[in-house]
Subunit: 657 residues, 2 copies
């Protein structure tokens, strides 16, 4: 399914074109013409024969072409008439379609049914459909504005995909104001057929595009998304603003888009795994633009800074921000309050002639001898001369520095309203990582579990299959030599939350106290304990080792997501947990362990004993395998896992099918 | 020392006024005239008799006045000539002076000497001197621009004090661009005589001023600053941007201002104690301005939100940010993409007629039926009708919403470029607290310690005086019945860091192993142990209780600063410490304990045992007293303090005099 003819069609048919200039179909037609599109235009209108000086056609089948597959169809008619047009497209061999019309999933139950039909027809004829309920797309590289949003006349190196039409149009309006041009703008709409994954695949190979930005409200196929982003990221950064990352935001997003999104913790883990640059707000997103459009930005980027300033105070504030972002300030050069452009030039030349790759942050406030315009000219000149160095600029003030800032922006230099914004943007970009992905060593197993909540001792056997050591656990009443003290536990479907029901009896020192505890428990839980699935088990009581939690949850979009954390009260108090995609091999498991907030405790800081990190990594890998091989398990927890100086022991386990 | 005549003089003398318009003295003269000042003007110039159509005087003593104290003198001449003018002022009874001239402490060692003389003369004659090395001040309320910075023609309700002239002038330029007027602008310069505390005192009582903003690079008298800010904060918010809060920033600030600032941890504790609103960047500061200028802002402020939006995506992003700031979103009303001004009005009226005090966040993106201007008019109308409600606005876009935003800004409504900025600004303002201050129950004691590092057992006695229970500690070799196991410790000036030198011997189970350990230690540390100040002590080994650290450090500006933290490895790993000003009574100590990140552990979360919070509070109060009563102690630590289910025991103590 190539999107070549989608983005570079030989002709465009506009269903819903009209002589009435207020109609959206007409606005699209005008936008296509105005954008300088060189292909053929086919306005489609039942009644009219001439629209905007172009010959109009009464139906798609009347288009004079032998190559329907090379034509893009834009549909802007009421929802109830859309399906028959799509069916027509399918039959004619028109493959590439933009449905601008609203009135589908986003609006009502009837609309959702209509959209379902749409998907079926799209699949049947293998159609590329953008939308419905979208603005269309703009391809500035090949001069085609197939949307009803206004576009500037230039082009750029960034592709922006937006799942919200409203945000998309606001951003376009904002960018126009700033004279900032995109390469592509794609309004994703309801994503009935084409979604972010299809466009990522296409844009990955477009050499005109150096960065891809996505505003998303849901990610339909998280597994594929991760794979794609990791692939694209090796060549160009993928920036994702995912709305609905808070619980409250997620609620509103669901009611707004009707989308069944993955849980936000899983989305976060998935985005991290993919190597995407995650931003959390529009401001953060916009602040990245001046850097993303730079040539060979990655080669320029450094985590060390040099400052040139005519105001000591600004340098101090910048140093504070650099520290806060955990970047490094090598030096701050104060050219002093009376510095003219020549002093700036001297300081800059000196820095640029050095071999270092430090980012240079140029600060300026308008003072008596300051020459903002001349200084800007110096900066533009030197930036051109040193295309491998990252120079970011913040001139603070109003009218006194306005023109200087404008000419630097026009020269595509990264100019920021405040120094802290430049520093944060650079720090954000340093999240851009090359990640390997696609290693999927785990396959689904056949010996699936059947019940909703799995038998306790069966789960212990499963752990053993995966070579995870467990605390010796026997059914109460079984003949065995016990080492006291022991723990008595009630297990089974009625004891999924053991602590709540007094189902864990600790510190039983001898056979007598064990028997007493068991008898007392039976008598207090007669009814429940009559069920065969509920029974008592005995374990030796473990007194040493660090208590950890380890488990996974299966996300609808991103697949199994693994949680590892400190057990007990410290986990809650210090939120000492981490959630990652459960595709860990040994190397990744070791890296994960090192990234844990409580790694110093595992590693034995301050002369304390260290724990068996290698065994922990083995357990993490085993749980990863288990999560991938047993697709029938929805949730799985080992809590606690006792990590020892040597080895690790699972003491309790729980699963939901 | 009233500043009435400083800010509202009957006349202004400008030393350094000149016919040469490029001279700073002349610029000040022109600014005073242009600002609409109604008092007398006395240009002072040795040679000229007429300047800018005003009669000029050859020297300050020639000013035709009987009330020198009512006159403000602005000095803008080279540094080497300043002293004789100041001396002249002193003798004539000219009390109020602005020294704009640079070339003092900030420039050289000679300059620093000159500034010292200046301070002496100022003290001798009780002069109010602003500067040197400053821009001067602007009093827009009484129409007097006594600075060489340009000012707008209006006035406002905010006073801005800046220790950096460069940042001050940039901010003024920026504000002029935004048509935003301040009540006062004060460039603090080197703060040789008048400093932030003097102006806080004056502005506290100025009813025209509803908020005070300070950009500071150091705080000279932190103790007084806290008192003043807490007093002012009961009436109006005090916002502080303190540069140099990072280690690197502090370094640059010191080299830049030559100021001996308090340590940043102490500054932070002090600002928190004072009830000031701390901001960390210029952007954060600027984002507060639209809220700070509102009438009865405090009464409007709520921590719950309602959203009205025509774009679901923007509401989702806002909900994410509201969650992130730990505020609450009650409801989000989507008036849908086709909403015109009437739909906005209906939704708004409905919200405003409710009894709740929720903040209302209005979001808009330009879509096909959107009416930005009409919607802005509706918002202005309803904002006026409901002056007790906080309405914040974010219209996203460029040209399509520009004018609408401008007219709302002109109506002094809080309009933000992005919703997240509005939410963060509101959250910041919620830091504005009324704090009681000035309760100073502790006085300095007479029985001071003499030595640099204090005798170990003497410190244990000191703890007992303050009713802090200690682990029974005796000198090794003293007759006593010991409870084994015991700990043997080497103490004294050579063992300040005990763990480094093997100076703590744990787990000695009986008399024999104790004697062996002592003998072995003596033989390995012969030379050091010959010093009388070094000796061995014996303590019973404590095996239960939670290990805490408790201590204080004396800051040069803010006085004693108390640290409380979790001991051992968890403190380091999770940065589980808190630093506060050491003036705690029992109530404040209990509040401090509740604010600790590890409070859940103290309080016995998840069915675990709880620790004796009341005893911990008593120890904290005792350490506070000790810190205040023993001004000779620079640093003091109890580490560990064993907190038990009942009681608390100090096991080790260290002090530096």
């Amino acid at each position: 399914m190539s999107l070549d003819y989608f983005f570079k069609p030989l002709g465009v048919a506009i269903v819903g074109a009209s002589s009435d200039k207020s109609k959206i179909g007409r606005q699209v037609l005008d936008n296509i013409s105005a954008s300088g599109y060189r292909g053929k235009l086919y306005p489609i209108n039942l009644k009219e024969t001439k629209i905007a000086n172009l010959r109009a056609f009464s139906s798609l089948e009347n288009i004079p072409t032998r190559n329907f597959a090379s034509i893009l169809v834009v549909i802007a008619i009421p929802a109830q008439f859309v399906m028959s047009e799509i069916e027509k497209c399918g039959k004619l061999g028109l493959k590439n379609i933009v449905i601008i019309s609203a009135g589908f999933k986003e609006s009502s139950a009837d609309g959702a049914i209509l959209e379902k039909e749409l998907v079926e027809v799209a699949n049947k004829y293998k159609l590329n459909i953008l939308g419905p309920n979208c603005l269309g797309f703009i391809n500035n590289i090949n001069r085609l504005n197939a949307s009803f949003a206004a576009s500037g006349s230039g082009t750029g190196r960034i592709a922006l995909l937006s799942q919200s039409g409203a945000i998309g149009s606001a951003v376009l309006d904002w960018l126009k104001d700033k004279n900032f041009n995109l390469g592509y703008f794609i309004s994703l709409g309801n994503k009935a057929s084409l979604d972010e994954n299809d466009f990522l695949e296409y844009l990955a190979n477009d050499k005109n595009i150096s960065a891809i930005i996505l505003y998303l409200e849901d990610i339909k196929n998280g597994r594929k998304f991760m794979e794609l982003v990791s692939r694209v990221s090796s060549k160009k950064p993928v920036v994702v603003l995912k709305a609905g990352m808070s619980e409250r935001g997620e609620q509103i997003a669901k009611s707004h888009t009707g989308a069944m999104a993955g849980a936000s913790a899983a989305v976060k883990a998935g985005l991290e795994r993919s190597g995407a640059i995650m931003v959390e707000s529009l401001e953060e997103l916009f602040n990245l633009l001046p850097l993303l459009q730079m040539e060979s930005m990655r080669e320029r980027l450094s985590n060390t800074f040099q400052i040139v300033t005519n105001a000591g105070g600004l340098a101090v504030l910048s140093a504070d921000e650099i520290s806060k972002q955990e970047l490094f300030l090598r030096n701050s050069i104060d050219v002093l309050g009376d510095a003219d452009a020549i002093k700036y030039e001297l300081a800059l030349r000196n820095l640029l002639s050095q071999k270092s790759k430090d980012n240079i942050l140029i600060l300026l406030t308008p003072q008596t001898s300051t020459k903002p315009l001349e200084t800007a000219a110096v900066i533009i000149k030197l930036s051109k001369k040193y295309p491998k160095r990252l120079i970011v600029i913040s001139f603070l003030g109003g009218a006194a520095v306005y023109e200087a800032k404008e000419i630097m922006k026009h020269a595509k230099l990264p100019v920021y309203a405040y120094p802290e914004l430049a520093i944060r943007a650079i720090n954000k970009l340093s999240d851009w990582k090359d990640v390997s992905f696609g290693v999927q060593p785990y396959k689904e197993r056949l010996d699936k579990f059947g019940k909703t909540e799995v038998d306790y001792l069966a789960l212990f056997s499963l752990l053993k299959k995966y070579k995870i050591n467990t605390v010796k656990t026997i059914r109460y009443g079984t003949e065995a030599t016990l080492t006291y003290p022991v723990v008595l536990k009630a297990v089974g479907p009625d004891f999924m939350h053991k602590t709540d029901k007094g189902a864990i009896m600790l510190g039983l020192d001898n056979q007598l106290s064990l028997e007493k505890a068991a008898a007392s428990f039976y008598s207090q839980n007669k009814k429940i304990m009559q069920k065969e699935e509920n029974y008592l088990v005995v374990q030796p009581q473990i007194s040493s080792g660090l208590e950890l939690i380890l488990g996974f949850k299966r996300d609808v979009s991103f697949g199994p997501v693994l949680l590892v954390g400190l057990g007990g009260i410290y986990a809650e108090t210090f939120k000492a947990i981490k959630i990652v995609i459960a595709d860990l091999d040994k190397a990744r498991a070791l890296a994960l362990i090192q990234s844990l907030s409580f790694f110093p405790i595992l590693n034995g800081a301050r002369g304390k004993k260290s724990y068996d990190i290698n065994s922990l990594a083995d357990v993490i890998v085993a749980i990863s395998r288990l999560a991938n091989e047993h697709a029938e398990i929805k949730e799985f927890d080992i809590n606690p896992l006792f990590l020892k100086e040597k080895g690790a022991l699972a003491a309790d386990v729980r699963a939901i099918i």
